[in-house]
Amino acid sequence: MNQQVKFEVWVGLLVLITLISTAFIALKVSNFSETQDRSTYQVDALFSNIGGLTVRAPVKISGVVVGRVTGISIDPVTYRARVQMDIFKEYDDLPTDTSAMILTSGLLGSQYIGLEVGADDELLVEGSRIYFTQSALVLENLIGRLLVSLTEGGSK
């Protein structure tokens, strides 16, 4: 076999192995498949406390992922946390009185937004705001309240 042909065959093999590796990384290891061609619309919501919510956290309805958190900032008027989220276009029939809660997956897991679908006739569109919100559960506040109720119970 010609020397140049031998080089070309081996380099072709190297490229083939690289393509297989890339396909493996894209499809099996990373979220490549879910980032592709999913059009979204953006809504936002104001929370008085978002706890440990981060950008890219999932937005779920009944545990099913329907979107992602895309931005967290302070609303300049009310000084509450403003959370922007992208909802996938296929879930574009959510009523305007849908409520958003910040929930935790598992006891110490990461936080996500859970949507409770409402019953209004009007639907959420690009740029809408979700008005019914429930803040994150902060463990310290919870323990504080528990201690107060315990001491009150003891002094009776």
């Binding site: 140049q4 080089f7 690289t18 590796s21 990384i25 894209a26 099996k28 990373s30 979220n31 980032t35």
Partner: protein
């Protein structure tokens, strides 16, 4: 007085070699176009630096992935969160270990060979012979090798990552009994295609360029003696490794913060 002269001479020498490096880099950039036109030369070099590095990349990747999974499982099991071992292995491989370890192995396996080859070409006056025939050695010898490195190392890094994740899978799922579904699901949840994989690939491209420039510059400017070539080869491996590790910190602080 004598010490001062020594200091001055050493600084001037440093400055001069820095200037030579700059001249080298500037003469290489236009020559890269020539390498694209005469791709046959590049194919041959990709075989030399890429295909021949494949065994060491595959072996090292497999064992690095297996060790990551083993150590990760040991620590994570104290928090009862063994499922995260998959995403931990994949993220460390994609963000850091894939590009960096592949680059270090590449510098040792391919960079040193390039320096020795070009240095020997110089000491046996093959480069001068090319110039006598009005062939620019930068175009004919240096540019194809640099392009080949920039093509080969990102491919090797991707292969390293894939085989590393597979090694982690073997240890975590096959040996330590982590749930297979949770292993892959956690991985897909935490590894982002754009932020993690493409940034890791960008790192590999930068490292490839740095290693290629260092090894060929050292070979090209080596003292044309057997001792000079051996010193140049050593300098290639040491400087490439230090540059890769230093640049990795800089790139990480830009990309992942």
């Amino acid at each position: 007085m004598n010490g001062l002269a020594k200091l001055g001479r050493a600084s001037l020498w440093r400055l001069q070699s820095l200037g030579q490096l700059a001249l080298f880099v500037f003469s290489v950039f236009p020559a890269l176009g020539y390498a694209f036109v005469h791709f046959r030369l590049v194919i041959k070099q990709v075989y030399g630096v890429g295909v021949l590095s494949l065994p060491i990349i595959l072996t090292a990747g497999l064992f690095v992935g297996m060790v990551l999974a083993l150590q990760g499982h040991y620590i994570l099991s104290t928090f009862n969160s063994e499922e995260i071992v998959g995403s931990m292995t994949a993220l460390s491989l994609i963000r850091e270990l894939g590009p960096v370890v592949a680059a270090l192995l590449f510098a040792g396996r391919a960079g040193s060979a390039l320096t020795a080859e070009v240095g020997l070409m110089k000491s046996t006056e093959q480069l001068s012979a090319l110039e006598m025939m009005a062939i620019d050695p930068i175009k004919y010898v240096v540019a194809p090798r640099i392009l080949a490195c920039v093509i080969a190392l990102p491919m090797l890094a991707l292969i390293f990552i894939a085989i590393g994740v597979f090694g982690g899978y073997l240890v975590a799922v096959g040996w330590l009994g982590v749930d297979e579904g949770a292993f892959w699901a956690q991985m897909q949840l935490h590894v982002d295609w754009h932020d993690d994989v493409l940034n890791g690939l960008l790192k590999a491209i930068v490292f490839a360029f740095v290693i290629a420039i260092i090894s060929l510059f050292q070979g090209y400017e080596a003292m044309p003696t057997s001792e000079g070539v051996s010193n140049a080869t050593t300098r290639t491996v040491v400087q490439s490794s230090l540059w890769v590790l230093g640049l990795d910190f800089v790139l990480t602080s830009i990309m992942f913060t």
